[in-house]
Amino acid sequence: MSILVIAEHDHSQLSPGTLNTVSAAARVGGDVHVLVAGSGCADVAEQCAKIAGVSRVLCADSAHYANEITENTAALIRANVDGYTHVMAPASTFGKALIPYVAALCDVQAISDISEVVSADTFVRPIYAGNALATVKSSDPVKMLTVRTTAFDPADGESGSAEVSSIDDAGADQGVSFVGQNLSHSERPELASAKIVVSGGRGMKSGENFSMLETLADTLGGAVGASRAAVDAGFVPNDYQVGQTGKVVAPDLYIAVGISGAIQHLAGMKDSKVIVAINNDEEAPIFQVADYGWNEDLFNAVPALQAELDK
């Protein structure tokens, strides 16, 4: 078994999800290599070399990988895939776009969002927004997988000592060009890997009111998320969205504020260790999954909770 994990990073820092993906690779067993495609990404290659269980890091440092152009990264993977039995990436927007694309180039049927490795060819994955779990077996010679990162513990990122080798770039697709990006910058922990998440829903009534949740999150050292309703209403940007089609989170503590608990939202957070729900509607479905429910108007509850924590 020989597994190629595709690193996700911002050219200077490895994403936490890559560590969980390496863990999933270790469950398959065999040699684990990590591919870093980026521009000025030597630091990331060094970080990958320190991940426990990684025996080799392949680094393609080229302007062609300065942005996440799926076509370019896919061409690079295809050029280096010979000899590998598995290719794995985190099930982030990066990995979810990339892996099926590479799979089609290699005539492979990809498997999305695996939450368990049963054996080298058999995996469990959530379907129907996590309301069912399918155990699937692949007959492809190479398995191409995205990994639900919250389902695997992160690999140790400090104790490894893999060799880093440079590989050639595989050219740039002429049909796609990068124009610009508008990224959310936050000093808070990354939503997908935060230990504590405070999320707001339609009940927040406005974007300004999210500042209460930001203060609460900062007190707890957590991240801020939102339901689809809050994002659609324009309270917060798209990257806050937790749910079936947004980010999947599984923090130690998830505090749902003014979120009713549609199944699409539950799909993104019901694996959290402890769930707190604050809602003024006692019939809200969120209470059915909450460890601690508080049937109270959030505009009373959040300040009271903040005051209690500030004591």
């Binding site: 969002d113 129907y128 779990l133 796609v176």
Partner: protein
């Protein structure tokens, strides 16, 4: 310009699904079905592009059994011009579906294929990416905006870190994210009109595609149930529970 919109028939988003007692899958018999919500967004965008005078024709396609024609009719009732039905009773994996779509797109000479980013049944999120790879055409995944310009299409993508703008040349393949638009409802007159719109029925063989699956579904299970916990009455009690009982703060 011609726009092709592949759509999928799925269990209605509002239905609570049930895993079959023999663990072979999810119950779909006698369950309300509907067009996949992301596919509705894709249809809507194609119609808006046509209504803006940028496209002349919107073609809806679906692959699957006889009943898939109903979902094509839904797209026609929203306002699309005609349909293509790749008729088969076999289970279809995304790679095979992508091959069927590629074949239709090439026969029709489409300039743009708009797909939903994922279906809410299998949650695969693969077909659009695979189609772009097989066709060797630019991919715009998870888009929240698309505008035709002289060089092709300007798109905005929803990515984990925020938003990204790309320029892609035509013909292209894009996948619709939630915030691309709000799909319209079909009006009664349009539902009546849709019944007269043509749907070409073709077999996978007609489209030059062999249906070969690589994934075997061994079993389908209910996820472990999460039990409702307790209600608290004030902040002091909540913080005490989180500190001393749950030990998470």
């Amino acid at each position: 310009m011609k726009v092709l919109v592949p759509v999928k028939r799925v269990v209605d988003a509002n239905i609570r699904i049930r895993v079959k007692s023999d663990n072979t899958g999810v119950e779909t018999a006698n369950v309300k079905m509907a067009m996949n919500p992301f596919c509705e967004i894709a249809v809507e965008e194609a119609l808006r592009i046509r209504e803006a005078g940028v496209a002349e024709e919107v073609i809806i396609m679906s692959a699957g059994p006889e009943k898939a024609a109903e979902t094509i009719r839904t797209g026609l009732a929203m306002g699309a011009d005609r349909g293509v039905h790749a008729l088969t009773d076999e289970r279809l994996e995304p790679l095979v579906i992508a091959r069927l779509i590629k074949s239709v797109a090439e026969r029709e000479g489409t300039d743009l294929v708009i797909l939903g980013k994922q279906s809410i049944d299998d949650d695969n999120n693969q077909t659009g990416q695979m189609l772009a790879a097989l066709m060797g055409r630019p991919l715009g995944s998870y888009i929240s905006r698309i505008a035709k310009n002289d060089d092709g299409f300007a798109i905005t993508r929803e990515i984990d870190a925020g938003l990204e703008d790309l320029q892609i040349v035509s013909p292209a393949v894009v996948t619709a994210d939630l915030r691309l638009n709000e799909p319209r409802y079909a009006s009664l007159p349009n539902i009546m009109k849709a019944k007269k719109k043509p749907i070409d029925v073709l077999s996978p063989a007609d489209l030059g595609v062999e249906v070969v699956n690589r994934i075997e579904v061994l079993r389908v299970d209910e996820p472990p149930a999460r039990e409702a916990g307790i209600m608290v009455s004030d902040a002091t009690e909540l913080v005490e529970k989180l500190k001393n009982e749950a030990k998470v703060i």
